[in-house]
Symmetry: C2
Subunit: 331 residues, 2 copies
DNA sequence: CAACGCCACTGGAACGCTCCAGGAGCCCCT
DNA sequence: AGGGGCTCCTGGAGCGTTCCAGTGGCGTTG
């Protein structure tokens, strides 16, 4: 099938338009110094021939590919999808393409993908994963500008960080519960990672501020069962702030199974506004991160780094509270 | 910061090892015709210098980048994530990298991303999206080998297709309901797209085979309400086969809201074994597609096309039934 | 011992683009 | 009339690879 004939190059266009290849290059990139008449002619010819500029050749010659990479640990996590959407929209505004690498939640795969994306010649990388090893992150950052999403501390210098303000989010959740009249509020934690710790500490501080005792229960230590058992008793907790929506949803599930009325006997607040928060019944009250905005901000930081800005910064964005059906005044 | 010094090239390695750049190239690619002693020396030097081969230059010179592209319409769809995981694992086995493009469920974005991925110089593309316009698909297929996942008909020749056997899946669902003793089974459809049609037709055929009347209700025509109203009556349906899990979950939700006992008064079977099937209560009985296997098969087909195989084929893989809590014998 | 074949290695062209130094033509000013 | 400064355009070098046609040395063979 002759349609497989080699793709037209800049030289083909130049020949067909009767100009030099340099001029075609200038015209296509929209450079000044090309007369309008010639430019339109060249573009028409290019279009006619079905010319597409070869990114590989351009990247090789310019040292820039106009493509940024995004490394994601878990594709199926809607949080990641939204952040990626934000990144893409901002990149597109700047005329850059985006490719995504998928780490399948495994540190070694993640590191390999990161290398592979960099090898492809992207101009910069945004890492949306808390799981990437610090050394891999550091090594990558010496190769290209790198922006990290979500990890609360800038371990290596040279990387910028965008994250949601977990402390403030936890405070939002607790203010909500406190204003409903809850006093015996426990925290259900399932992870010791950075974001989870920030939320846990913020919980502790909010309780201290309100002069109330703080109690953290761990899922992997049977915390859920302990919580459910206690919440029947007169002195038991009337509300629970969970470290994330998955944990909250599981708790809700178990509570309903145990015949405990939610929210009448136990109020539950999650964190993340994940899809599951809308799917459970009653709907989960939760703290929402500004996911697209986080992505857009990450892209903005990366673009400025690509343009030569050497400063690495840490940006935190404000979360908000979404009230659904799992919170009410204690009865 | 002096770590930003230019990355070492093959020439640097050659100079450091005291050989020609051609020999370095051969050694690194594992070509024959390099003595063992020289090869190990070259590799050691390369490693020492932190040499990484430049994919852009290699792609330009060879016309092959050793990277395949995957175009996905919706990142957050776990179905897609699993297919991608399958693709990646197979590609990795063959020593190829993978980049993902994200179409955000919008045909025009999808088409633009596809072009962009192709521009990047990937050796082939796998499209995991039913939404891509046929023309865009066709245009892409003339540029590189292309494999389509999920769309049941090969519209343009030149593309291979991997899909789940929707007809057989629907038959599995109906066999299950029939063997439970159901006789009045309706189909609830929400889409007229290809996969949905295949399931709908298979429903009709299965009913005909069993000598039972087939009734298809459409969600967008108030089918859900009609179904719920009818299922109370003596002659009303005792079971429903939904076109996908989302539809099934919504039906389940409405049925429970209406005070209808599921599965006692109404059995429900979905399709896809999406995450939601596990999250609703009771868990949804559904047809599961072999998602990773589909991805692996797609990658296998693509690789053989890349290696010069000109045949385009259509492969269907067998689905399986996952029985959960929404099906029981009619009472 | 000359001829041959094979092995290990080399140098340069090519891939498709960008960038740079420079050239032709034109208008304006002195 | 001569020069200066535009604007519009050109040719060639260079980006880091791969590929191809050799080259030289060595062992085998008639």
């Amino acid at each position: 099938m002759s349609a497989d004939r080699a793709a037209p190059t800049i030289v083909d266009v130049a020949r067909a338009a009767g100009v030099s290849k340099s001029l075609v290059s200038l015209a296509i990139r929209g450079d000044v110094g090309v007369s309008d008449a010639t430019r339109t002619r060249i573009l028409a010819v290019a279009d006619d021939l079905g010319y597409r500029s070869n990114v590989l050749a351009r990247g090789l010659a310019r040292g820039r590919t106009q493509v940024i990479g995004v490394l994601v640990s878990d594709l199926s996590n809607p949080y990641h999808a939204d952040v990626v959407a934000g990144i893409e929209s901002r990149a597109l505004d700047a005329g850059l393409g985006t490719v995504i690498g998928h780490g399948r939640s495994r540190p070694e795969v993640l590191a390999a993908r990161l290398d592979q994306i960099l090898d492809l010649g992207v101009d910069g990388v945004i890492v949306v994963s808390a799981m990437l090893a610090a050394e891999a992150l550091d090594a990558a950052a010496t190769r290209r500008p790198l922006v990290m999403v979500g990890r609360p501390f800038t371990q290596p210098r040279r990387v910028s960080v965008v994250r949601n303000h977990d402390e403030r989010g936890a405070a939002l959740a607790l203010d909500h519960l406190l204003s409903l009249g809850h006093r015996r509020i426990v925290h259900l934690a399932s992870s010791r990672r950075a974001a989870a710790s920030a939320r846990r500490h913020a919980y502790g501080e909010a309780m201290t501020r309100a002069d109330l005792p703080a109690t953290t229960l761990w899922v992997d230590e049977g915390g859920t069962a302990a919580l459910l058992a206690a919440s029947g008793t007169p002195e038991g907790p009337t509300a629970c702030f969970a470290g994330n929506d998955r944990t909250a949803a599981a708790l809700l599930h178990d509570a309903l199974d145990a015949g405990l009325d939610v929210p009448a006997r136990l109020s539950i607040v999650g964190y993340d506004d994940a899809q599951i928060a809308r799917q459970v019944r009653p709907g989960l009250t939760t703290v929402a991160q500004p996911r697209e905005a986080i992505g857009r901000e990450a892209a903005r930081l990366l673009l400025s780094r690509i343009d030569g800005d050497r400063d690495t910064v840490e940006v935190t964005l404000e979360p908000s509270l979404t009230v659904r059906g799992t919170t009410a005044a204690p009865c």
